[in-house]
């Protein structure tokens, strides 16, 4: 068995060997040039939806230190200390809530009005199952998983404008989130640099022609054909973007994390700047299912949270000049139980926080109808939900994305205005 060290050098060697016989797509002239319709002027913001999978502990991320004993007694080994108590203390936001120190890069953005926190929010269905809760949240229909389309998918379906760009809706990763399901085919994109068709030297052009015929990309009639057409269109457009040479603006530094979160955000930024018709980008950061040893100001949770904080801050900084046309929102399927468990971790809970960032955000506020952590008001041991996450999304959809079709996106939902964003 070869030792691990060999791997990198081996793969390098393989690339060299492969270069002899395999070449990258060279965008054949026979392919019709891409002529997609984009709205003449961007009618609304670009939406960036961040899903924190696994159920992030909102009580450690946005610390309700003002709760005193209700918080600190429930979490003897994992609570984050009150602001001003030295290393590892929470960073005060408004005298009652503080950010986990790992989120320090976001505090300036919060103070300058570019970020709002919503707390005690979430999907109202009581499920503590990851899979159900995610599906409810992403379908936008708590308690009902029969619809089969996601809230973003229905948004794209119901806009008054047309946009045929293959980049209209992009999910960063190999697989697409359920929120994007719908009749508008979203693009799954892992790496701009690697999005090429490869094949044998001298045969690739013919092979591409045959593939295009096999998948009938001139008149796609099946979902697989549609995906194939997306691949061809995307390859054609990405040739103009040299991702290896990308330089973030304003000194922004994306984290180089093992989850690919920093890289994913950077690629979204690149697509936004390139003006390729992007309307919605979805990106995930997972790893939040902290049933044990989650740590406090340092440890596992803190490390992961700093990926989130650094990533969002870099994205915000990089896109400062575009931020008035971008809305960023984060969500997670549920929060975690108020009381820590026997393993210095937390079990599945209910209410949680969301971030809202971007040009339209009424920042510098923790928006909440805070239910408190008093034992008698908890929801089955967990933080109650007093703000439906759909109310947050509706504000963005109506006022920033400029789509009034809320009854199609969240059927049967009646919206309570929150005043979280300034209309575009």
């Amino acid at each position: 068995m070869k030792p691990l060290l060999n791997r990198r050098s081996f793969l390098k060697g393989m690339t060299g060997a492969a270069a002899v016989g395999i070449s990258k797509s060279i965008f054949p002239a026979w392919m019709p040039r891409l002529a997609f319709r984009q709205p003449d002027q961007n009618p609304g913001d670009v939406l960036v939806a961040v899903f924190l999978r696994g159920g992030i502990d909102g009580l450690s991320a946005i610390v309700p230190f003002g709760e005193g004993a209700h918080y600190y007694d429930a979490r003897p080994t994992i609570a984050v200390a009150e602001p001003g108590t030295g290393v590892g203390a929470a960073l005060d936001l408004n005298g009652y809530f503080g950010m986990h120190p790992s989120l320090a890069p976001l505090v300036d953005i919060y103070q300058s009005g570019g970020l709002a926190v919503v707390h005690a929010t979430g999907s109202t269905d009581p499920s503590r199952s990851h899979f159900d809760a995610m599906q409810f949240m992403e379908y936008g229909t708590p308690g009902d998983k029969t619809g089969g389309t996601g809230w973003i998918g229905r948004h794209l379906q119901s806009t008054a404008w047309q946009n045929d760009s293959p980049f209209r809706a992009v999910g960063m990763g190999a697989m697409l989130p359920s929120s994007l399901r719908g009749p508008v085919a979203p693009l799954a994109l892992r790496s701009i640099a690697d999005f090429h068709l490869k094949g044998r030297e001298g045969e690739l052009r013919r092979a591409e022609q045959i593939l295009a015929q096999l998948y009938a990309i001139d008149a796609p009639s099946t979902p697989l054909d549609t995906q194939a057409k997306l691949v061809f269109d995307t390859v054609d457009m990405l040739k103009t973007l040299d991702s290896t040479a990308y330089q973030p603006a304003n000194g922004a530094a994306y984290p180089t994390d093992e989850y690919g979160f920093g890289l994913g955000l950077q690629q979204i930024a690149q697509l936004i700047k390139a003006g390729v018709g992007l309307e919605v980008a979805c990106i995930d950061l997972g790893g939040w299912d902290t049933h044990e040893n989650q740590g406090t100001h340092d440890g596992y949770f803190a490390d992961l949270l700093s990926v989130l904080g650094k990533g969002l801050a870099a994205f915000y900084t990089d896109l400062q000049d575009h931020m008035k046309g971008i809305s960023i929102v984060t969500m997670s399927e549920f929060g975690r139980r108020v009381v820590e468990n026997a393993s210095q971790g937390t079990d599945h809970g209910h209410g949680n926080f969301m971030f809202l960032m971007g040009g339209g955000t009424q920042g510098s506020q923790v928006y909440t109808r805070w239910p408190t952590l008093a034992p008698e008001v908890l929801n089955d041991g967990d933080l109650a939900i007093t703000t439906d996450y759909r109310d947050v999304l509706v504000e963005i959809i109506m006022h920033r994305l400029k789509n009034p079709s809320i009854d199609q996106i969240f059927p049967g939902f009646s919206h309570t205005p929150l005043g979280l964003v300034v209309p575009r």
Binding site: S129, D132, A174, L224, T234, G286, T290, N293, D380
Partner: protein, 498 residues
């Protein structure tokens, strides 16, 4: 314990794909796929083999035609009677797969070795074993009882052999009791940390939601908590032979009420055994597992009639897997489901290896391709296992990865170990005289039968330019086009469905 910490915590991260997590069940009923030009539609033997094998090779097609579907199925349903010496010989390279728990845990570099052996072993067995259906069923249970191998590999090796492979065609009860007492599962879902003061609900919840009743199986949040209490004390101790240990000092001996049944006070391990029996024998479990089997073997939205009849067979046979599977695979609903399953990336990959006779000389070459395809065996982090439905896998990035993998495996047509793999396509095609015959020979390797219609014409066009199917095979074709011909077949829409 400390070594597996990151494995637990990364459960919802994904070193592999950092990607979306899509539930494997309950997906949109309205999402159906109009299929175009499926080549083997009219051939029931090929349809059958497409589902119970990892891609039918000519010898399997011959055998199935000779015996008939039912007799061939019965042969496959008794894997112990199928001679698989060649497979056993290949597995000698992976001795860790046969070691008991204590031996595995004494190995240097055991996590890394276990990861490689599990991944390689899965692919090798799927490619070479004559017990194809058995390997398909093992894959089903491996997804069902998913535990990623990244850091729990040594214990996954043992669970895989002792709980899953041993009982794959046996009784469901043994699969549940086996996995419930496997250190891999006990660590992965935090059962080892549970005690009477602070019961950890993780395993209890996933046991009911994913392993037995299903999320709509009628249990409540209180049932989850009661199940967690009943299982307190179930933990791991390296002093026992299997690693499973019941620690009475951590067990909650008070009375519990689970699914309407009372578990009396004052008991020990019997509490957990009783609780497991309640969920194993519950009608919701029968239905949930049968539904899932139908999704795997029949279609993404299986006919309700089939789920019903399979559930009845399950109940009559007290959860014996074999008769249920036999019922499903011989049903009229199965016969009518031609081409309705999208190959998962691993199906695609293994089928491609079988068709092209590719052998890997370097693990990392294979691993890199599996990573591109986003389905490395034993590397799905959440407990629900790799998704089983087309809607989860149909994406532009996924399709491009299939195309590029197909080309990577075939573009040389002939390669040796300097590339980390070897392929000799020329040896697989006989002696075709015309372009049409060459396409048909290659199709026999890839699809099991020659294909018809537009797709065949496109492949002929690729070989001949403007020529006809009657154009003679030229040395140029064999030297420069044979690999890409195989690559195009594997990349075609027809190949993605089975």
């Amino acid at each position: 314990m400390q070594t597996s910490r990151r494995a637990f915590l990364k459960r919802f991260g994904s070193g592999l794909t950092a990607s979306a997590l899509i539930p494997s069940l309950g997906l949109p009923p309205r999402m159906t796929f109009a299929l175009s030009d499926i080549p083997a539609v009219t051939d029931p033997t090929i349809h059958f083999l497409n589902r119970i094998t990892y891609g039918p090779l000519p010898e399997e097609v011959d055998r199935a035609r000779q015996l008939g579907i039912e007799a061939y199925l019965d042969e496959q349903l008794h894997p112990e009677q199928i001679d698989d010496l060649d497979m056993d010989r290949r597995l000698i390279e992976l001795p860790i797969l046969k070691m008991d728990r204590r031996t595995v845990h004494r190995l240097d570099g055991r996590e890394y070795r276990a990861y490689i052996a599990l991944t390689t072993g899965m692919v090798m067995r799927a490619v070479y074993s004559k017990r194809q259906l058995f390997e398909r069923v093992v894959e089903f249970w491996t997804d069902h009882f998913n535990v990623p191998s990244a850091e729990l590999g040594p214990d996954v090796v043992v669970m895989q052999r002792e709980a899953i492979r041993r009982h794959a065609l046996g009784n469901f009860r043994d699969l549940i009791f086996g996995t419930a007492q496997s250190p891999a599962m006990l660590y992965y879902l935090d059962q080892t940390f549970s005690d009477k003061e602070h019961p950890n609900e993780n395993y209890a919840r996933e046991l009911m939601e994913l392993h037995t009743l299903g999320v709509d199986g009628g249990y409540t949040e209180t049932d989850v908590k009661e199940m967690a209490r009943a299982l307190t004390g179930w933990t791991v101790h390296d002093g026992t032979r299997t690693g499973f240990y019941f620690d009475p000092t951590r067990h909650d001996t008070e009375e519990k009420t689970l699914l309407g049944h009372s578990l009396p006070s004052g008991r020990g391990i019997e509490d957990g055994l009783h609780a497991l029996s309640l969920v194993v024998t519950h009608p919701a479990t029968a239905r949930f597992i049968c539904h899932k089997l139908c999704i795997r073997f029949v279609s993404d939205q299986p006919p309700a009639s089939l789920v019903e009849s399979a559930t009845a067979v399950w109940m009559q046979n007290d959860g014996a897997v074999l008769p249920v599977l036999r019922h499903i695979l011989l049903s009229s609903e199965f016969a009518a489901s031609v081409g309705q399953k999208l190959r998962r990336p691993l199906d695609f990959f293994i089928g491609a290896l079988r068709s092209t006779g590719t052998e890997f000389r370097e693990f990392w070459v294979m691993e890199a391709l599996l990573q591109d395809l986003a389905q490395v065996p034993y590397s799905w982090n959440p407990p629900n296992g790799y998704p089983d439905q087309a809607s989860a896998w149909m994406s532009s990035a996924g399709l491009l990865a299939r195309w590029n993998t197909a080309m990577e495996l075939t573009h040389r047509a002939h390669s040796e170990s300097d590339t980390g793999m070897s392929t000799h396509l020329i040896e697989l095609i006989g002696t075709p005289q015309t372009a049409g015959e060459l396409v048909d020979s290659a199709a026999r390797r890839v699809f099991g039968v020659p294909i018809l219609g537009d797709a065949r014409a496109h492949f002929v066009t690729y070989l001949t330019g403007d020529g006809s199917a009657e154009s003679p095979v030229t040395p140029h074709m064999l030297a420069n086009k044979l690999g890409t011909l195989f690559g195009l077949m594997l990349a075609s829409p027809q190949y993605q469905w089975r």
